[in-house]
């Protein structure tokens, strides 16, 4: 990977002169790498647990090795396969919907010229980020219940004849989760895009106005390209997170009737690993998630490098 890249970009020969010039960068890098190894890479020794029957008393060195037993347990269970599907599906739906909402909101709010409108809306928008999931899902549950406001409105407008019990049907579940995520995080996610839009050179808009561009055209030709680097970087990063589709939302919104679509890897691990005292199983699932994430990131990064300037590494 790295080699392809250096060929593409300008080649800088590794000479003593260059090294000396970059000595500040080198020293900083070295410190950062040491820090990273200590706090992020050293704990990965814990991954050994995935191949052991870990017992806290015996520790990492003393526990019995069981090879791939834990992975076998996971992948021989039909439920786990379903759980991967659920996690992946919800991860992708969440990623797409929350990204679109955040960008949309940032751009639209940017179109408001009056600061006294804009500032309060921005503040309000990020408040739900501070509500815990139990509060948000509680309200959502009440609103979507057969006697709740959503059914009420739908019935009054004549879309449906009989109240729908949204939580009793697996087909609605993923979308409810996506909605909950957008509801809670759109404002907070948009902050980063506000900053990006702020960074766009104002003279570009002036020039466009002079050329007679309308607002939509300005968005299309100036704002969107302006936030593209941020957008792509965030997208790339989040592609690696699709398997972290969450735990609390699904747990709080789910019930027996929809459990075939509501269980995520994290819930599965909690049920089978932690609550049953099986640390190793949880670690195995975590290791699996990490490997998939890194594969996805490498893939996405390769694509991004081929088709645009942005890349993660």
């Amino acid at each position: 990977m790295a080699r392809v890249k250096t060929e593409k970009t300008r080649k800088i020969p590794i000479t003593m002169k260059e090294m000396k010039k970059q000595s500040f960068l080198m020293i900083v890098s070295f410190c950062m790498v040491v820090y990273g190894i200590i706090f992020y890479y050293w704990p990965l020794t814990g991954w050994i647990m995935a191949f052991q029957n870990y017992k806290p008393k015996k520790g990492l060195l003393g526990s019995k090795f069981v090879g791939l037993d834990k992975f076998r347990f996971l992948f021989e269970d039909d439920v786990f396969i379903k759980v991967i599907r659920n996690t992946f599906a919800m991860g992708v739906i969440n990623l797409v919907s929350t990204t679109i909402m955040a960008v949309l909101f940032a751009i639209i709010l940017n179109e408001v010229r009056r600061t006294w409108i804009k500032k309060p809306i921005q503040t309000i928008s990020y408040l739900p980020h501070f509500l815990s999931w139990i509060v948000v899902t509680g309200i959502l549950h009440v609103s979507l219940s057969p006697t709740g406001i959503v059914n009420d409105v739908l019935m009054r407008m004549g879309f449906i004849k009989q109240a729908i019990n949204f939580f009793a049907h697996p087909k609605y579940f993923w979308w409810i989760v996506a909605f909950a995520n957008c509801w809670k995080e759109t404002g907070f996610n948009a902050i980063i895009y506000f900053a990006a839009i702020t960074g766009i050179d104002p003279s570009l808009y002036e020039a466009a106005s002079i050329d007679g561009a309308d607002r939509l055209q300005k968005i299309r030709y100036i704002t969107l390209p302006g936030i593209k680097p941020t957008f792509l970087i965030l997208l790339l990063m989040n592609v690696g997170n699709v398997l972290n589709a969450g735990f609390e939302v699904q747990y709080l919104l789910g019930n027996g009737l929809v459990q075939s679509v509501s269980q995520t890897i994290d819930i599965y691990v909690l049920k089978w690993g932690i609550s049953q005292n099986d640390y190793s199983l949880g670690t195995a699932a975590g290791l699996f998630k990490s490997v998939v994430s890194i594969l996805l990131i490498v893939l996405a990064n390769g694509l991004a490098k081929r088709y645009s300037e942005e890349r993660l590494f």
Partner: protein, 300 residues
């Protein structure tokens, strides 16, 4: 005044667009504000009364009991002090460290920039689990100290990448001209790069501050027995979980006469108590997100 000028030359498509903007934002505000107002209303409501449900925008049976309970907690002020200290300290150190790292990896000439980026990107997706991390902190002597709040999480690949994106946006010519003047990389970082990136600093600072402000798991895990290092959120979590536990106890059953608290209302009060300070911080940072456009507006 610019507005007027602007309106004259407004194409029709802009007017339609304006209507859409208004509708979108109005519905967005209503739907976003509702859970917040609902939480505030609940926080001022009597606990037992709230159990019946049906409270929407305004408390039904007003009570200050929830807030009284929250603020009567023994360690709440210690927790608040620790939380403020960790938030300020971690925001500053972490902002500086991330900026420095972002600066290094955004230097186009830097020999190991892609390797260094990869090194950090990976950290976002790997996690050794609770126990190895616990052991590490214990061996480093971080458990049972204040330092555990800011030392381990100082660098986050996410924040670093966000900053890098901005720093890459700086024209290379700036850097080159500085180098021609004989400036080293440290000088470039200090003089040129860092002052230019205000909005991104505000953003990242906000992310770090919010994260720090809301953290409690570390206090629970590493400083469980150290009352002097408890954090606000940990105290609030303790209150919440004890109220949840108690609501099913015989004691409460005979209690209907007095003002009562229940998990529903205490949770609401705790949420508001957490939310307020960090919300107050936002307008100060917000300036940095709006400045550019105000300037733009003036120039128009």
């Amino acid at each position: 005044m610019n507005e007027k000028e602007y309106k004259v030359s407004k194409p029709i498509s802009d007017k339609i667009f304006g209507v859409i903007v208004v509708i979108f934002l109005a519905s967005f505000v209503i739907i976003t504000l509702y859970p917040v107002i609902n939480t505030v209303a609940l926080s001022f409501n009597d606990g037992i009364d709230a159990v019946r449900g049906g409270i929407y925008l305004w408390p039904r049976k007003f009570s200050m009991k929830n807030y009284k309970t929250v603020f009567a907690m023994q360690n709440i002020w210690t927790g608040a002090k620790v939380t403020v200290a960790r938030t300020v300290l971690a925001t500053l150190t972490s902002l500086f460290a991330n900026a420095l790292l972002a600066f290094v990896v955004s230097r186009k000439r830097f020999l190991f920039k892609s390797q260094l980026s990869l090194f950090w990107v990976i950290t976002m997706y790997v996690n050794g689990g609770m126990i190895p991390v616990f052991l590490l902190y214990k061996n480093l002597g971080l458990t049972g100290t204040f330092n555990v709040y800011w030392v381990p999480g100082m660098i986050s690949a996410f924040n670093m990448l966000v900053m890098r994106t901005y720093m890459e946006g700086i024209p290379e010519s700036l850097e080159e001209s500085a180098q021609l003047d004989g400036a080293g990389y440290f000088t470039i970082f200090k003089d040129i790069i860092s002052p230019l990136r205000k909005p991104v600093y505000a953003t990242v600072a906000l992310f770090i501050a919010v994260w720090q402000w809301n953290s409690w798991f570390d206090a629970m895990l590493y400083n469980r027995m150290k009352t002097q290092y408890t954090t606000l959120q940990y105290e609030l979590m303790k209150l919440l979980s004890s109220v949840m536990q108690q609501s099913g106890s015989a004691e409460n059953a005979k209690n209907a006469g007095g003002n009562t608290i229940t998990p529903i209302t205490i949770r609401a009060a705790v949420t508001v108590a957490t939310m307020l300070p960090i919300v107050c911080l936002y307008p100060f940072l917000q300036r940095y997100f709006v400045t550019g456009l105000t300037i733009g507006g003036v120039k128009e």
